[in-house]
């Protein structure tokens, strides 16, 4: 897996400094605390986790928007350490596309569709004559057609779905190898979510793209990726192929997330769902041992609260960081 990995992340840490009065350092928020994974070209992975679990920081670190504190990222054979400048950084940025959560906010309100799509090209020195042709080509790919109806429009004249398709078009206009999609559908109407995800999936297949899909909503995962990584409190706690994860969730947190999915079933009105008590922990002062232990109903006394769990692989390709699986089976 490692040899053909498009992106390989090893023990990545991103800590934000906490300061008092602007200069006294009083500690860190550990937004990413030792994340390791590989992503192959042409693969799509999903990162699932609730707000504050570090998903967005992971995206920003990969895009070079936030410098990592520690750890290693290798993208298409190039080591990235967050200190890249000039050409190397430009190369990274041309090769990683970014799709944000809020499509309206992600588009400069004072630029036309054509301008928005030409901007990344202009930044990377694509000649002006070529810009228009390439902008029109990606518009065709994301089904913003006929192009003539759209090129002179401003973002506020488009619907939410069209705006997000424009954001996707902008992310792929430089023909990147990897696209990071940070909650691309969470702010859209339920009616267009599937459409956008299928569009992203189709583009991923046709361009042989690596896609990192970040979401808090497990219900959208099945439309998308091969692999799912579950993040909790700045760490990846479980990783498995999509269907395996949905059918046999191992980590108590994953189980809780799956229970929380709201399916449009009238029966749900009568069922009181079991959700873990409490809130996600503060990342400035994470709990010792397993970070989920204060909320976990299966916690093992003494062990979970003192020692961080290591990785277990109870089924092939299905790895989990939880002491319950220390004998290799269900505990």
């Amino acid at each position: 897996m490692t040899e053909q990995a498009l992106l390989s992340v090893r023990d990545l840490h991103t800590w934000y400094e906490l300061r008092k009065w602007g200069f006294f350092r009083t500690g860190h928020v550990r937004a990413l605390d030792g994340v390791t994974f590989d992503l192959r070209r042409g693969d799509a992975i999903t990162i699932v986790g609730e707000s504050g679990s570090g998903k967005t920081t992971l995206a920003k670190t990969l895009l070079g928007l936030v410098p990592p504190t520690k750890g290693e990222m290798v993208f298409a054979g190039e080591r990235l350490d967050g200190k890249k400048k000039g050409k190397a950084l430009a190369w990274l940025r041309a090769n990683v596309g970014f799709v944000q959560q809020d499509p309206y906010g992600a588009l400069p309100p004072f630029m036309t569709v054509e301008r928005i799509l030409s901007e990344p090209l202009a930044v990377h020195g694509v000649p002006r004559r070529e810009q228009e042709a390439r902008a029109r080509a990606v518009m065709d790919e994301v089904r913003l057609t006929p192009q003539d109806d759209f090129v002179h429009k401003y973002p506020h004249m488009l619907s939410g779905g069209q705006q997000q398709r424009l954001v996707i078009a902008r992310a792929i206009v430089l023909e990147p190898k990897l696209v990071v999609a940070d909650e691309p559908v969470s702010m859209l109407d339920a009616s267009v979510r599937v459409e956008i995800l299928q569009l992203l999936r189709r583009i991923q297949k046709s361009h042989d793209l690596g896609v990192m899909y970040i979401t808090h909503d497990l219900s959208t995962v099945r439309y998308f990726s091969e692999y799912v990584f579950v993040m909790y409190a700045a760490k990846i706690v479980e990783r498995a192929p999509v269907h395996e994860l949905i059918r046999h969730p191992l980590h108590p947190y994953t189980q809780a997330l799956l229970t929380a999915i709201s399916d449009p079933d009238p029966e749900n009105a009568h069922i009181q769902k079991e959700v873990p008590p409490g809130e996600p922990p503060s990342l400035a002062h994470p709990p010792s041992g397993c970070r989920f232990h204060p909320r976990c109903k299966h916690r093992i006394a003494e062990l979970c609260s003192t020692t961080e769990p290591t990785t277990f692989e109870p089924a092939p390709g299905h790895r989990v960081e939880c002491w319950l699986y220390r004998q290799g089976g269900e505990g």
């Binding site: 895009l63 940025r93 041309a94 944000q100 588009l107 309100p109």
Partner: protein, 451 residues
């Protein structure tokens, strides 16, 4: 850009803005007219004045439309020049000499007396032997001898009003311009002078050799002149009122544009890079806010020069880190957090592009009302400096008019028009920009609409 235009179109919904735009439009038309009708060098020459420039204009004359308020017909200036009118006869005296006789006739039908009379003569001959004789003929045929014993000279100005010898000979020892144009009536117990309407004649006689000629110009100064009146140097105030418009607008617009744009761009740069640059710019702003603008400008005017361009440059410099910096900074801090900024960084846009293509355009619409509102502030600043005697020494501006009027004690002497005309124009200018600025503010800051 089209949001900007759409918002501007919304101005039509505010009657006050329409009024303001009309005022600004009229000022612009006035400025264009001024620059075309009186070219710059001509305006400078006229305003500098000097001999020969304003000879035919009355001193301290009110505007001609004062007629409407007094109900009387106020005297206008009458110029009779022998080169274009009047009759000339030459009577041979033998031995090659002639007696040249010029008769300058004028029709006077006003209710008030002239304020002054002067006779400007030029002759191609100079002699002390023969004299110029001038005789005034009133409509009733009464003849008064003027100018006893004036030599014929190549260029001669005879100030009839100041001829004290003449005055001694006139009835009641009245001023010449009164006695020559009026009759003393017994309409009141003490008696008073009244103007006598009709045709007057000035008969000039000079003896000289046949080859030579005499030309004379009689100017009877009125008590009113033109649209705006004249000052104590006989200058037509209209010149300064007209030229004041382009100068005021130019100064106001350039200062507002220069200072505002610089503040805006620097706020964008400072906010984008943050850290040391941002702090430095903030400290500079706080420092500038403490600096007293007017005393500094007075100092510059005293020590370095009073050219309008120098003052403009100093005003712009002192306004770069103005209070607006903090307002823009607050807006940029907010705009900097927009997701599209992050997106642009993610596709690799560099600092200059980020600032000028992404950060600044977002705030431009907010810039507009501020810009329009500060224009009159700078117009007033320039006028204030001129009133304090620190205006550009050669340019006719509204502020200079007020300065001159104050120096000549215009208000004390009752020449209200001299002060009021420029003051009203300044007020109207401020009013126009304020109306448009407030309307723009309402359009671009919708929260104000509910207040």
């Amino acid at each position: 850009m089209n949001t900007l235009l759409r918002n501007l179109r919304e101005l039509r919904r505010y009657p006050s803005a329409i009024l303001g735009l009309t005022i600004i439009g009229l000022l612009i038309v006035l400025s264009i007219y001024a620059v075309i009708a009186i070219p710059y060098s001509e305006a400078i020459r006229l305003w500098r004045g000097g001999p020969g420039v304003w000879d035919e204009l009355p001193r301290n004359a009110s505007p001609a439309w004062f007629d409407l308020f007094t109900g009387k017909s106020l005297s206008r200036t009458i110029v009779v020049d022998s080169r274009t009118e009047g009759t000339r006869t030459r009577e041979p005296l033998g031995d090659g000499n002639v007696r040249e006789r010029l008769i300058l006739a004028l029709d006077f039908r006003y209710d008030t007396f002239p304020t002054e009379m002067s006779l400007f003569s030029t002759a191609t001959y100079e002699t002390k032997r023969s004299k110029l004789t001038a005789t005034w003929v009133k409509p009733d045929g009464t003849r008064v001898a003027l100018a006893s014993g004036r030599s014929i000279r190549s260029s001669d100005t005879y100030y009839i009003s100041l001829d004290n010898q003449l005055r001694d000979r006139l009835p009641q020892m009245a001023a010449p311009e009164v006695a020559l144009f009026g009759e003393f009536g017994a309409s009141s117990p003490k008696g008073e002078w009244k103007t006598q309407p009709g045709t007057y004649e000035l008969v000039l006689e000079a003896d000289m050799p046949e080859a030579y000629t005499l030309e004379s110009k009689l100017v009877v100064y009125g008590s009113v002149y033109g649209i705006a009146g004249t000052d104590n140097q006989r200058r037509d105030i209209t010149v300064a009122l007209l030229w004041g418009a382009p100068l005021a607008l130019l100064f106001g617009l350039l200062a507002a544009l220069g200072a505002n744009t610089a503040t805006f761009v620097l706020a964008g740069i400072g906010t984008w890079f943050g850290g040391f640059m941002d702090s430095a710019f903030q400290r500079l702003t706080q420092l500038t806010l403490l600096l007293p603008l007017l005393p500094i400008l007075i100092m510059v005017g005293q020590l370095y020069g009073r050219s309008i361009w120098l003052i403009l440059a100093v005003v712009i410099l002192l306004n770069v880190f103005s209070g607006a910096y903090l307002t823009y900074r607050a807006m940029f801090l907010q705009a900097k957090e927009a997701p599209y900024i992050e997106a642009a960084r993610a596709y690799g846009a560099r600092h200059r592009r980020m600032i000028f293509r992404y950060l600044l355009p977002r705030i431009v619409p907010v810039l507009l009302p501020t810009f329009v509102l500060v224009v009159p502030q700078f117009v007033f600043l320039e006028a204030s400096l001129a009133v304090l005697g620190l205006g550009d020494p050669i340019l006719p501006t509204w502020g200079k008019l007020i300065y001159d009027a104050r120096a000549a004690d215009a208000l004390y002497k009752g020449y209200y028009y001299w002060v009021l005309e420029p003051a009203i124009l300044l007020m109207v200018t401020g009013f126009g920009f304020a109306l448009v600025g407030f309307a723009l503010d309402r359009i671009f800051n919708p929260r104000l609409r509910t207040m």
